[in-house]
């Protein structure tokens, strides 16, 4: 139903009724009579600040939760890897590659994951770092698994196994007299 979505999206519209500006001088239209901006501000400010704080708190809490999510993943992956064993076959290779791919795709989408929790008051750096660290940990786990499977070129044998024999300077031929 993608086509339908596109049509609906173009039809969307919205009016923003909120007005957060505090100084009247910046506006062209004068305030209506009997409307005192100061009193309203004073009235609502406490309440809205509280609200905002709560929201920020909630956002940061959520961000931390999201940042910690890969940890569970990490544990599960570790279990799966332990199950897969250390011989090269379809299952172990599949798991290892997914263990490598998941963190990689997660790292690519770091910005997107934390977008809903973007707030001027919320410091997203720490959760982001944690998220990245955990994902890197997952990736390391994958690499380690790859190594235990023996698929990483970390030995001398991996670099010389296809080295052709060295050229010989001398040539010699001969043998028993032909008869």
């Amino acid at each position: 139903m993608e086509k339908g979505k596109g049509v609906m999206g173009s039809r969307k519209w919205a009016v923003d009724f909120t007005d957060n500006s505090s100084s009247p001088s910046t506006r062209d239209i004068p305030d209506p009579p009997g409307f005192t901006r100061a009193s309203q501000d004073q009235d609502d400010s406490a309440m809205s600040r509280q609200k905002k704080d709560a929201e920020a708190n909630w956002k940061s809490q959520k961000a931390w939760e999201v940042a910690q999510a890969p940890f569970k993943n990490l544990l599960m992956m570790g279990f799966m890897m332990w199950m897969a064993g250390s011989t090269v076959h379809l299952f172990s290779i599949g798991i290892t590659f997914s263990a490598l791919w998941q963190p990689l795709s997660a790292l690519q989408g770091v910005g997107k994951v934390f977008e809903p929790y973007k707030d001027s008051k919320v410091d997203l750096l720490a959760p982001k770092l944690l998220f990245i660290a955990l994902n890197l940990g997952g990736m390391l786990l994958g690499v380690w698994k790859l190594n235990t499977l023996g698929l990483l070129p970390t030995h001398a044998s991996d670099w010389v196994s296809s080295l052709p024999p060295a050229h010989e300077v001398e040539f010699s031929g001969g043998g028993i007299a032909l008869h």
């Binding site: 023996g150 044998s157 991996d158 010389v160 052709p164 010989e168 040539f171 031929g173 043998g175 008869h179």
Partner: protein, 983 residues
């Protein structure tokens, strides 16, 4: 196993998991990529058997020691026995009309074979007292107590043997008389055997021996001071003819009334003119004998009064057959005269010598050369007259049957004695094929695949199954005359003992061309030439693509090492002799240098008996290339009699010849003659390709192979143990093996096997050598392996340095740097004795190797090299198991499925040649002896291609079905979407 590679071959591994593993063949795959041809060799003697109404046949014995019964109508082999190289057939005959009697091994073994099926009926050993000629007489109708005796003279004894069961009836020793018997004659209707012989070459003796008990009844003697040359031949029952020692006087010996008369006649009186090289030909004509001189052949009649009378003289190129008895005491014989691409066959009757009874002219391929032998046989025509058929043996060892002026059949039996083998590429396919052909082949192709599909789906009827099998065997692809992508189609160029070159197509084994080389035929400059070696001369790849590939044939005129050389260069596509050289120098060794000139001709060095090197081709360009490289060119000689290895380098040019170089002796290895005798040497094949210098062992450790083309394996035994097995005690027998560097003469490794002896068969490849010998203490054959590793490179283990390329692994190496080596070896018992060992070779050397072992049963066994690994241990660790190391066993397994010759035998197996195909996984194997066998092997299975019988039609059908399914489901889903939207 290298880990990097795993990733690359992973899809292949996965694919292989889906295929049912099978090393051996299925029944219906026989003949699909292999072929087998049976031969008998050059015919020495032939006996016809055509009397009965049964199938007409001819029994032959050959120089390859084969006795065979051939179908006279088609030339097929009814049955055949190969007696082996030490059991030379002396005589054959037919007894009682049902047994073939053969006398072999210098007259010491007499055997009877059942004529219809070739089963052996009996065998008698006739131990003699002194070696002598061996004579066999099978009387046609002599009965002694319901038995027909066979008379054999061998080992200076006359034996009478029952033809029914081979029992010895009696034996008379002539050694005590000191007489050398030349002829046994059995006059018809008498109970005596006449034995004619000489003592001290100056006394004639005739004995009459009773057939009943073997006592000597009568003995006459006469002295002849002139001596005897050659044999005494019978002219009639009481007359013999001999030649005196000076070869100029004919002696007629006649026995009358118990007395011997001699009558001498000068050959020059009978045959006017020259009379050198006189020989009396054994022709068995009654009353007539044949004398051959250097100018002519004369038929001489002995009249009743003892007078000699020359009946006819013919050219000495004429070949005369033995006499054939016809009905009513008539005798016939045949003469063959060679004309220009024709042969003239004439049959004459003894009573009427003046005219030809029969004269026929037969067209003959000039590549068959001259007629060497003729055997005739008669049959009765419908009009009751006599017809004749002639079996002729040609110069190229082929066998032909002539009847009524036509060649009824021919057999290429020269292929039974192959000297050397090489291969040549076929021409590249020309673009531009006619449309009709494509349509036809497309239709055929489709039909074939539909049939195959039916077979796969088990829908085919038995008739169709037969048709499928036929299509598979006859697939036109495999016998095409063009190069194929996989390199399976090639020409096997073989040189035979007759000096004939054959090109066999690997697809079906047919002879593409054959050519009797002019340089290897007897001529005035070159008498009795023999072929020595066959090399690839020109292999067009990049530069000279328009040229055909060509091969170099090197031969020798005469038998001594210092005789002159005969050389030919032959076009490998047409069989034409491009160049024909008769250089004056001798040849003891041909060295194939790893250099080519601008027309891609390979440079060759021919070493002569005086240790001078002659460069070929004789062009200034080749000389320049050689001069540039000559500082690094060495050669060596192995003198087996003296027990010396000598190494040489180039010193200077010879005095006059631009292309001749003097040698400089650089080193010698002398084996002490009292303790070591060289029995075998082997080197790596010049064209072998090694993929890598590193061997990855368990735990990703690495060992560096000592890969050198200049390594020679030498096996020596103590002189006492150089005889056959059993001639020495275990304490006397010592087998020593050496690995020698042939540039510097350095002995890289030496090992002794106490209590072991030869014969040694060995193969050297990459960095290992496998050899086969007999262990006298264990009373079993053994196979040992030596692997040699380079210790000077062992430090190259730092990954970082390897990554940045800081290592000395690719720098050129010199033998003078004396690298330190380390060897590993192990011995295993092996059940069979061995006739030849070879190893598979592939294009890039990546595929694992199999040893090809020619067993005593004349079969070829493929043995995985992993079984002869020196690192096998009793309890391999997990890592070693992963590497593919097998647990140690004391004997090598012989798996019946791994016989590459499956049900066939390559009788008289002499050699196994392997040639890499272009496809890395595959190697072409050609085994030759009296028989020929060719097959294709994939030691690690065909991991790089689909099998030949892969069902492309099924694949196509599946793809089409899938595409249709995708289309249909897409349409359906579109329709459903639309309905959903309207809802």
């Amino acid at each position: 196993m290298p880990k990097m590679k795993i990733i690359a071959i992973l899809p292949v591994l996965m694919f292989l998991l889906l295929i049912v593993p099978s090393f051996s063949l299925f029944e219906d795959q026989v003949g699909f990529m292999d072929w087998h041809q049976r031969y008998i060799g050059k015919v020495k003697d032939a006996v016809f058997h055509t009397q009965k109404a049964a199938r007409k046949r001819v029994v032959v014995s050959t120089h390859e020691n084969v006795i065979a019964s051939l179908d006279l109508r088609r030339g097929d082999i009814f049955w055949r026995h190969v007696l082996g190289p030490n059991d030379v057939v002396d005589n054959i005959d037919i007894a009682l009309g049902k047994y073939v009697i053969t006398l072999s091994s210098e007259g010491s073994i007499l055997r009877a074979w059942n004529l219809p099926d070739g089963q052996m009926v009996w065998e008698s050993l006739l131990p003699g007292t002194k070696s002598s000629k061996s004579l066999l007489v099978v009387p046609a109708n002599l009965k002694v107590d319901l038995d027909s005796p066979i008379f054999v003279y061998s080992g200076s004894c006359l034996h009478a043997i029952s033809s029914i069961d081979g029992e010895l009836l009696w034996k008379t020793d002539f050694a005590t008389h000191g007489i050398d018997v030349h002829q046994l004659i059995l006059p018809s209707a008498s109970a005596v055997v006449h034995a004619v012989g000489v003592t001290d070459l100056s006394h004639f003796h005739t004995y009459e021996v009773g057939v009943m008990s073997g006592e000597i009844l009568k003995h006459t003697t006469a002295s002849f001071p002139g001596g005897v040359y050659g044999e005494i031949l019978p002219v009639s029952n009481d007359r013999f003819v001999a030649l005196d020692a000076s070869r100029s006087v004919l002696v007629i010996i006649s026995i009358q009334n118990g007395k011997t008369h001699l009558q001498q006649t000068h050959v020059s009186d009978l045959i006017h003119g020259s009379s050198r090289d006189t020989v009396i030909l054994p022709s068995k004509l009654s009353g007539i004998f044949t004398v051959s001189t250097d100018t002519c052949i004369a038929f001489i009649k002995v009249t009743d009064e003892g007078k000699l009378h020359v009946m006819e003289k013919v050219d000495n190129k004429v070949v005369v057959s033995d006499a054939l008895s016809l009905s009513e005491g008539e005798q016939a014989f045949a003469l063959v005269q060679h004309g220009d691409s024709k042969i003239h066959l004439s049959v004459r009757l003894v009573h009427d010598m003046s005219s030809n009874h029969l004269k026929e002219t037969v067209e003959m391929d000039h590549n068959r050369g001259f007629v060497h032998k003729i055997f005739i046989n008669s049959y009765v025509r419908t009009d009751r007259s006599n017809g004749f058929r002639a079996l002729i043996v040609m110069e190229d060892h082929s066998l032909l049957l002539l009847q009524q002026g036509e060649i009824v059949w021919s057999r290429e039996d020269g292929l039974a004695s192959i000297i050397d083998v090489t291969t040549a590429e076929l021409p590249v396919e020309k673009i531009g094929v006619s449309v009709a052909k494509v349509e036809h082949s497309l239709f055929e192709w489709l039909k074939g695949h539909v049939l195959k599909l039916k077979g796969t789906l088990m829908l085919a009827t038995p008739d169709e199954l037969v048709e499928i099998q036929k299509i598979r065997l006859r697939s036109s692809e495999k016998s095409k005359m063009t190069r194929d992508h996989n390199g399976f189609r090639r020409l096997l160029v073989v040189l035979t003992k007759a000096g004939k070159l054959f090109a066999l197509h690997t697809g079906d084994g047919r002879v593409v061309w054959s050519s009797l080389l002019q340089s290897l035929r007897s001529s005035e400059q070159c008498s009795q030439p023999t072929g020595l070696k066959l090399h690839q001369w020109q292999i067009p790849h990049h530069h000279a693509l328009d040229n055909n590939p060509s091969v170099l044939v090197v031969g020798r005129c005469g038998s001594s090492l210092s005789s002159a050389t005969a050389m030919s260069i032959v076009d490998a596509h047409t069989g034409k002799e491009v160049q024909n050289m008769v250089p004056t120098h001798s040849t003891v060794q041909v060295i194939y240098l790893p250099f080519t000139d601008s027309t891609e001709q390979q440079l060759h060095l021919l070493i002569d008996a005086d240790n001078r090197a002659h460069l070929y081709p004789k062009t200034p360009e080749a000389a320049e290339i050689f001069q540039r490289e000559s500082a690094n060119v060495y050669w060596y000689s192995v003198e087996t009699e003296a027990g010396i290895l000598r190494g040489y380098g180039v010193k200077t040019k010879c005095n006059l010849d631009e292309y001749c170089f003097e040698a400089r002796n650089l080193w010698s290895v002398v084996f002490p003659s009292e303790s070591e005798k060289i029995i075998a040497t082997v080197t790596r094949k010049a064209n072998e390709v090694v993929h890598t210098q590193a061997k990855v062992i368990a735990d990703e450790d690495v060992m560096y192979k000592y890969v050198s083309k200049n390594m020679l394996f030498v096996a020596t035994v103590s002189p006492k143990a150089s005889g056959p097995i059993g001639s020495a005690t275990p304490d006397e027998a010592v087998l020593a093996v050496h690995l020698v560097d042939t540039v510097t003469g350095r002995i890289l490794h030496r090992m002794t096997h106490l209590g072991s002896q030869g014969p040694v068969h060995a193969v050297l490849s990459e960095n290992w050598v496998v050899y086969h010998y007999f262990n006298l203490r264990a009373h079993r054959y053994e196979m040992s392996v030596i692997e040699i590793y380079d210790q000077s490179r062992a430090e190259n283990k730092d990954v970082l340095k390897l990554i940045v390329g800081k290592h000395n692994l690719t720098t050129p190496v010199s033998s003078y740097s004396r690298p330190e080596v380390m060897t590993k070896s192990q011995s295993y018992f092996f059940t069979h004795s061995v006739k030849a060992i070879s190893v598979t070779s592939t294009a890039k050397g990546i595929t694992s190797k199999h040893l090809l072992i020619g067993t005593v049963g004349d079969q070829v066994l493929a043995l995985d090299k992993r079984f002869v690994d020196p690192r096998r241990s009793l309890n391999p660790t997990q890592a070693e198991k992963e590497e593919g190391l097998l647990p140690l066993t004391d004997a090598l397994p012989i798996i019946p499925q791994s016989y590459v010759t499956h049900a066939f035998k390559v009788e008289g197996l002499r050699g196994i040649e392997t040639v890499p195909a272009k496809l890395e996984s595959t190697t072409l194997v050609f085994a030759y002896g009296v028989d020929l066998f060719y097959t294709r092997l994939a030691p690690s299975r065909t991991y790089d291609s689909l099998t030949e019988d892969f069902n492309y039609a099924l694949l196509l059908l599946t793809i089409v079905a899938l595409v249709v399914a995708i289309f249909v489901t897409w349409v359906l889903s579109e329709r459903k979407d639309l309905q959903d939207k309207w809802r």
